[in-house]
Structures are given as structure tokens and as C-alpha cells.
């Protein structure tokens, strides 16, 4: 049974539709990436899942319990990092961490100290002196020193430097190793690429794609660089070849392009007789995947 399930979720703010029938399903032990541009509905989805917003239609449940009705019961096993961490100016970071851990239930004191060390964070300062990254650390330390079964993280690394981003990734991998589940919303794609088993892409309140990274790549393009002894055939006219350029070679002898991955074989057949001297194929990074995904959709 999935640990978290969203079915045909609809959320309206007055006349604006923020979520238009989205469905998600997270199995125990999975790290689930939830990507989309700003304003796509990521935070709204998470707030419905936490029972802070009430769904207009459809259903959202965690641990088999209804997100709205059993919110408090669900929160006992959920650790949450909000996207925009606003803190009380006159409390110290350490006080807020303790408050957050206690309000959720139990916490591990030594784990708290360890995380404060790893995130290189000064808990004795008042929150109004913290930068965005430091406020984010307060929420992360509190979240990871809590003992939860599901971690819901809403763009958790915004404002963190790459070094701290690395510490964050370690934390996610540790809880994953311990068999916990993670729901990670992000627009920082490299982080999703490295951490997530499964990905959903949300855009304008609708899920446009769901699958493992593997499956999603299947739908997309491969980046190909070719050099050949003889002139290559005319690739530009092929409908499944994109962004063709000469790749710095003498005209006709080199090509750099993207190809729809399922058509890769046809391209190979065409270029094989030309005496290939160099062939590089790379899987698209999630960035490219994302761009091509939106290029296609944004056109309409």
C-alpha cells in the first residue's frame, strides 16, 4: 500500500484553479521528486497533504489516513520543511529547533547537536540576524533530528550553498537508508536527479509526467556528437533531430544534435556508412529533459 496517495486532487482559490486533478503515489522507502516551475502548484499540493489547506475535490491521504480529517494524527509521523522559512525575530535558532522538535513529538538530542555541527550553524543567534540559508538550516536541523516516517521537503535547499546542499543530500540518503520515505519538491534538478527514485512533473496545476528517471528519459532526446571521414547525410530535414550544428568540424563532416531517443537507431543507420571516427552519446541531464519538456508544451 502506498504511504502517500493523492487522487484527482482539485484545489480552487476563489475562482482560480490551483490544482486541476493531480494524482501521485509514494511507496514506502521511496524518495519522490516533485518538480515544476514556480507557481505550478507544488506548495499548494504539499499544504493539502499536510491538512493546512482543504481540498476542493479528490482525495489526499498519508499512511492511509485522510489528510484533512486526521491531520494532527498524520503529523506525528511526518517531518516537514516549508519552502519559505519565516521565523520569529526574537527567538534564537536553537530555541526554534527545540520548539519544532518538541511540537512534533520526540527528537534525538545527540542527533540535533550532530546536525548543528554538520550544517555549520550557530544556534545562539536571534532569528532576525539569520540569512535565508541559515533560516533554512533551522528548519532542516529540526526536520532531520525528528524521528519521522515521511519527510516532506518543499524546496529545502533554496539559499543553501553547494557545500550545505551536499550535507542535505547526505541527510536524505541517510533517512532513505533507514527505510524512511521522502517527498522532495524542487526546481533544482540536479538534486532531484541524484536523490530521487521517482519523479512527477507538475505544471499549471497538472501532472504532466510521472515515472522513474529512466522512464522519463525514454520519452526524450539523446545528445549526440559525431565526427566522420566522409560528408554526413542531410540530418536537418529529419523531424526527430533537433538543434543541429556542425559541432566545430569542417562543413558536412561533423554534427552535434539532439535526437528523440526512440529514433536513435534510424540516425545510426543513416550515418554508419560515412566512416565514423567519433561518436558520443550522452543521456540528457534532467535540466535538458525539463527544458525540452517545457519547450514542447510552452509552444502551444
Amino acid at each position: 500500500m502506498p504511504i502517500m496517495e493523492v487522487r484527482d486532487l482539485v484545489k480552487d482559490y476563489g475562482k482560480t484553479r490551483a490544482l486541476n486533478g493531480i494524482s501521485l503515489s509514494l511507496e514506502a522507502g521511496e524518495v519522490y521528486g516533485f518538480i515544476g516551475p514556480n507557481g505550478a502548484g507544488k506548495t499548494t499540493t504539499i499544504r493539502v497533504l499536510l491538512g493546512i489547506l482543504k481540498a476542493t475535490g479528490g482525495s489526499a491521504s498519508i499512511f492511509g489516513k485522510d489528510s484533512w480529517r486526521d491531520a494532527v494524527e498524520i503529523h506525528k509521523r511526518v517531518s516537514y520543511v516549508p519552502g519559505d522559512v519565516n521565523l520569529w525575530p526574537n527567538l534564537t535558532g536553537g530555541e526554534v529547533v527545540d520548539l519544532f522538535v518538541r511540537l512534533r513529538g520526540s527528537g534525538d538530542k545527540s542527533r540535533r547537536e550532530e546536525l548543528i555541527g554538520r550544517f555549520d550553524f550557530d544556534p545562539s543567534k536571534k532569528c532576525n540576524t539569520y540569512s535565508k540559508g541559515n533560516r533554512q538550516k533551522v528548519a532542516l536541523v529540526a526536520a532531520f533530528s525528528s524521528d519521522a516516517d515521511l519527510y516532506i521537503l518543499d524546496e529545502p535547499t533554496s539559499g543553501l550553498d553547494p557545500l550545505m546542499g551536499k550535507v542535505f543530500q547526505e541527510c536524505v540518503l541517510e533517512v532513505k537508508k533507514a527505510g524512511k520515505s521522502v517527498f522532495l519538491s524542487s526546481h533544482i534538478l540536479s538534486e532531484v536527479e541524484q536523490l530521487c527514485d521517482k519523479i512527477s512533473i507538475i505544471r499549471r496545476g497538472e501532472i504532466t509526467e510521472t515515472g522513474t528517471l529512466q522512464e522519463l528519459r525514454h520519452l526524450t532526446r539523446t545528445r549526440v556528437a559525431i565526427e566522420a571521414e566522409r560528408a554526413l547525410p542531410d540530418l536537418a530535414s529529419l523531424p526527430f533531430v533537433h538543434n543541429l550544428s556542425a559541432g566545430g568540424q569542417a562543413a558536412g563532416n561533423g554534427a552535434l544534435f539532439q535526437v528523440d531517443t526512440k529514433e536513435l537507431g534510424k540516425v545510426m543507420e543513416l550515418v554508419a556508412p560515412c566512416g565514423i571516427t567519433k561518436l558520443e552519446c550522452s543521456p540528457p541531464s534532467l535540466e535538458e529533459l525539463f527544458m525540452s519538456h517545457y519547450d514542447a508544451k510552452a509552444g502551444v
Binding site: 493546512i52 519559505d84 519565516n86 534564537t92 536553537g94 527545540d98 519544532f100
Partner: protein, 550 residues
């Protein structure tokens, strides 16, 4: 340095645009509070006899320490009396406005990262501070002119345009001195809360310093305080100008110091370094109620001290008032006891009824004042929600009801503490002034009864706030409009033909028995308490059912 003030003009326009509602409300309130009250005060003391009766209350040094020296009582014109009663308080209100205004646009904006955005644009290093101060000058000038013309327009004998302009200018300049002080403290402290605290400490300290100087008859001490200086202009009496020049100089010198400090400090830093706080939370903080208490604690303590001190200062005046105006028929008429009834009363009865009347007046004012912090506490969950902070608590193992209850229970608990503080303050100073002969209405038990009688009305107002937070979060600020109406109805509602009776009855305060003049009847109080309970319950249920709306 070149370009320190670049783009100040655009920033001034931007600040004034951001201020178009808040400052406009303050300006209107200040003008109503000063020029608007003039006819009412004149009506209460219509002739020389009644005014010289009132002048007698200046025989009390405590009265002088509260209100300022008794200028012009030899020939107590309405203008002289008006200045004596109002100038200090209007000026203090203007100071409060200016402190909020300046901190809002300097340190608070810096804390929120807005100054950083402005500084990254082609604006001068001092442009934001400069624009704030120039905007403050503009707003205070508008206030000064409106008060001056407004007072002249009231058409009261001896309240002329020249005196009015001086009165207005003194209010505006006192405000600007505190605007400059707030700007200075915004450089010293590294947080908006710190700057605000230091500014209000300065306001309180300078008020007390003036009080001490006035009580001892020392002009030198009083003139250290801008609040003492303004009184020495004697608007409508002597119309002296020298304090105006000193105030202008003070504004320039303090502002210059603030500009200098601002130009040599780093952004987000203050000259008084923030000391490290605790690394771990005390257990008391670790619950929704504990968090709510911690966030409200400073405000609550400050208000309790304020209520004690206000009570004590009123008490020192009231304790004596009966003894020196007790047999004056004018006084009895003013407070609504017709001469034919007064004739049949003994002197002791008269004194008693006068002190009771003033006690009632003071109690109702104090009840109105302490509604402000009660509403602050009850509305806090909404401001926490708007700032995006209640999400942290609500996403953990805390139900909506438990979260809301943290703040609302503090509001209800404070509603009991404030009237007790008022009663204790009043009693202590009445007892000190009158010795053995405490008027019966100022015995501690009687004072407690009188002040606690307002509880059900306060509860209705708290209940209305809970309802607003639960049911109309986006419009919940309207509760302050309701509070404004309640104050207006309480102060002026008994003036004939001002408000239709059914409108006055919309204020819960109108149902509170006028103890000790009337007996306390419990039926209306019980009904008010029930209404409060119903409003609170509906508020809680709606809050638990609605969306989180940052």
C-alpha cells in the same frame, strides 16, 4: 561623499505612497484628537467660574507632574486651558506615530531585506534614511497645519490662528524630535524590536524627566525633555517662539548623528552588538501556549506596568479632587447632578459622589486602553499566519484549536490582570495621598469591583476578534475599526443627538453598570459573557475548518 542622497526624491514618493493609508489614518486621528476635541472641552467649561474651578486641580503637584505646569491660570482663557490639557498628550501621540513611522521604514525594512533591494539600485547610501526623514517632515508639517487651521476653525474665543499654528508646530516638532531619535536608535540597535524599545524607553523617560522638573519647578530640568520644551512656548498664552528654535536645532543635530552613523555602518549591523542568546530552549517555550506567551510576554509586562502607573497617576489626582471641588455646584452640574438635587445633599455626600464620578470616568478610560493589548493578543494568530509562521506549528502535532487557544487564553487571562493592575495602581496612590480618609469608592474592594465589571465587555470584544480571525481572516483588521467606534461611543456617546441610541448600543461597553454610581446588576453582564462565549466558539470552529491563508 558624492551621490549619498541619489534618488531620494523617488524614494520619498515611494514611501509616501506606501504610507497613504496608515499615515492618513494617524493624521486624521491626531487632528480629531486635538482640534476635534476643542469644542467639547470648551463646552464642559463654558465660563470663567468653571475654568477657575478646574484650575484648582493644579494645586496638586502630582497633577502638575502629569499634565505640566499651570500656565496662564491667572487669566484662564479657553485657549490657556486647552493648551494645558491637550498639548502634551497630542504631542505624545504624534511622537508614537513618528517612532512607528521611522522604524518601519529604516530598521524594520532593513531587517526584511527591503533596504538591500533599494540599496542595490542606483540610490545613495543615505537615500533611504534621508527619504524617511524628509517624508516625516512632510507628514508632520501636514499635521501641524491641519491642527492649526482646525483649531482656528472651531471659532472659540482666545483660540486664534497664531496660537493654533504654534500649537500645531509644537506637536509636529515634538514628533520630529522622536522621529530623529528613532532614526538614531535604528542605527544603534540591530533589530527593529530593539530600535522600537529604545525609542519608547526614551519617550517614557523624557516624559518622566519633564514631570520631575515641572513638579520641582525647575525649568532647566524640564527643558532637557522636548516634551517640557513644548509646554514652555505657552501657546495661546504667551506664544513664545524660542522653544521652537531649540526643537528645530535638536531635530537637525539628532538627525545629523543618525545620518553620520548610517553612512559609516555596514548594512544589517548595529552599533550595539546583539549578544548571543540561548542555544537551547527552556522547557516553558516548548508548547503552543509557551510559544504564544513568549511572543507576547514583553508586551504584556509593559502594559501591566503602564496600567499600574497610569492608575497611580490618575489616583493621585482623584484622591484630592473631591476635597477641593466638593462643594462647587458647577462641578456637580458638569457631571450631571442638577442643582436642585445637589442642594439637598450634605458636603460629604457631594464629595463622595464627585470622587465616584471621577473614579467611574477613570475606570472606563482604563478599560478602553487595556483593550488594545487584549486585541493584540487575540489578533496575533492572524499576524503569525500572514507572516507565514503559523505553518511551522500547524504542520506539527498541534491541532488548530490548540494553536488558537494558546493566544486566545492569553488574551482572556490578561483581561483579568489589567483591571486588577489598574485597581492596585489607583488604590496605592489614593491611599498615599488621602491617608486615612480614603473615599469609599476608592477602597480596594470597590475599585476591584468597578474595574472587573468591564470584563464581560472586554470578552465580547475578544470574542469578536476570534470570530474575525476564524471567519474573515483577510478582513480581520476591521476589528480595530470596531474598537475605534467603541472608544468614540464610550467617550461621546452620552452627548445628546450625537449618535442614535441603537448605534451606541452596538458597543458592549454601553451595558456595563456605572458602578459605584449605580449598583452592579449581573443580568447584563451574564448576557455579555454568553455572547462572548458564543463569538469565541464560532471563531474557533471556523478557524479549525478554514484554509491556511498566509
Amino acid at each position: 561623499m558624492r551621490g549619498n542622497f541619489d534618488n531620494s526624491v523617488s524614494l520619498i514618493r515611494f514611501i509616501l505612497r506606501r504610507e497613504r493609508v496608515i499615515s492618513a489614518v494617524w493624521v486624521v486621528l491626531l487632528v480629531l484628537f486635538s482640534a476635534g476635541l476643542a469644542p467639547g472641552i470648551n463646552g464642559m467649561f463654558p465660563d470663567d467660574a468653571s475654568r477657575s474651578q478646574f484650575a484648582l486641580s493644579y494645586d496638586n503637584p502630582v497633577m502638575i507632574s502629569m499634565m505640566g505646569p499651570a500656565y496662564g491660570i491667572e487669566n484662564y482663557t479657553p485657549g490657556a486651558m486647552y493648551t494645558g490639557m491637550m498639548l502634551l498628550w497630542v504631542a505624545i501621540t504624534a511622537c508614537v506615530m513618528n517612532i512607528f513611522f521611522v522604524v518601519r521604514h529604516t530598521r524594520a525594512d532593513e531587517e526584511r531585506g527591503r533596504v538591500e533591494v533599494v540599496r542595490s539600485l542606483p540610490t545613495g547610501r543615505l537615500a533611504n534614511l534621508n527619504a524617511t526623514m524628509v517624508s516625516a517632515v512632510i507628514i508632520n508639517a501636514v499635521i501641524a497645519l491641519l491642527i492649526g487651521f482646525g483649531l482656528a476653525a472651531a471659532g472659540i474665543e482666545s483660540i486664534d490662528l497664531a496660537g493654533g499654528m504654534l500649537f500645531g508646530a509644537l506637536v509636529g516638532l515634538a514628533g520630529l524630535v522622536f522621529a530623529a531619535l528613532a532614526a538614531l536608535f535604528s542605527q544603534l540597535s540591530s533589530s527593529a524590536g530593539g530600535a522600537m524599545g529604545m525609542s519608547f524607553l526614551a519617550l517614557g523617560g523624557l516624559y518622566l524627566l519633564r514631570g520631575a522638573g515641572d513638579m520641582q519647578g525647575s525649568d532647566a530640568i524640564s527643558c532637557i525633555s522636548p516634551l517640557g520644551l513644548i509646554l514652555r512656548s505657552q501657546a495661546y498664552i504667551q506664544n513664545r517662539l524660542w522653544p521652537v528654535f531649540i526643537l528645530v536645532l535638536e531635530v537637525i543635530i539628532i538627525s545629523a548623528a543618525a545620518y553620520k552613523l548610517n553612512s559609516i555602518r555596514d548594512m544589517d549591523q548595529g552599533f550595539i552588538a546583539a549578544k548571543p542568546g540561548r542555544k537551547e530552549a527552556k522547557p516553558g517555550l516548548l508548547s503552543p501556549l509557551g510559544l504564544a506567551y513568549r511572543l507576547m510576554r514583553t508586551m504584556l509586562i509593559a502594559w501591566i506596568i503602564t496600567m499600574l502607573m497610569l492608575g497611580a497617576s490618575y489616583g493621585s489626582v482623584i484622591g484630592e479632587i473631591g476635597s477641593f471641588v466638593g462643594d462647587s455646584p458647577e462641578y456637580l452640574t458638569v457631571i450631571g447632578i442638577p442643582p436642585e438635587i445637589a442642594d439637598g445633599m450634605t458636603d460629604a455626600d457631594k464629595q463622595d459622589i464627585i470622587s465616584s464620578y471621577f473614579g467611574l470616568f477613570v475606570n472606563s478610560i482604563m478599560a478602553l486602553i487595556c483593550i488594545v493589548p487584549l486585541l493584540n493578543a487575540a489578533m496575533k494568530p492572524r499576524s503569525e499566519e500572514r507572516e507565514g509562521r503559523s505553518e511551522h506549528v500547524l504542520s506539527r502535532v498541534v491541532s488548530r484549536v490548540k494553536y488558537l487557544a494558546g493566544y486566545i487564553s492569553i488574551s482572556y487571562a490578561a483581561s483579568v490582570l489589567f483591571p486588577i493592575a489598574t485597581a492596585l495602581g489607583l488604590y496605592s496612590s489614593v491611599a498615599a495621598v488621602s491617608g486615612d480618609s480614603i473615599p469609599p469608592s476608592f477602597e480596594l474592594g470597590s475599585l476591584l469591583k468597578a474595574n472587573l465589571a468591564y470584563l464581560p465587555a472586554m470578552w465580547v470584544i475578544i470574542g469578536a476578534a476570534v470570530l474575525a480571525v476564524g471567519l474573515f481572516p483577510k478582513a480581520s483588521g476591521a476589528i480595530w475599526g470596531y474598537y475605534g467606534f467603541i472608544c468614540f461611543a464610550a467617550l461621546f456617546g452620552n452627548l445628546p443627538d450625537l449618535l442614535p441610541e441603537w448605534i451606541s448600543k452596538l458597543s458592549p461597553m454601553s451595558y456595563i453598570p456605572r458602578f459605584p454610581l449605580d449598583d452592579i446588576s449581573f443580568a447584563p453582564l451574564a448576557v455579555l459573557a454568553l455572547i462572548a462565549a458564543a463569538l469565541t466558539a464560532i471563531g474557533f470552529v471556523s478557524y479549525a475548518r478554514r484554509d491556511y491563508r498566509p
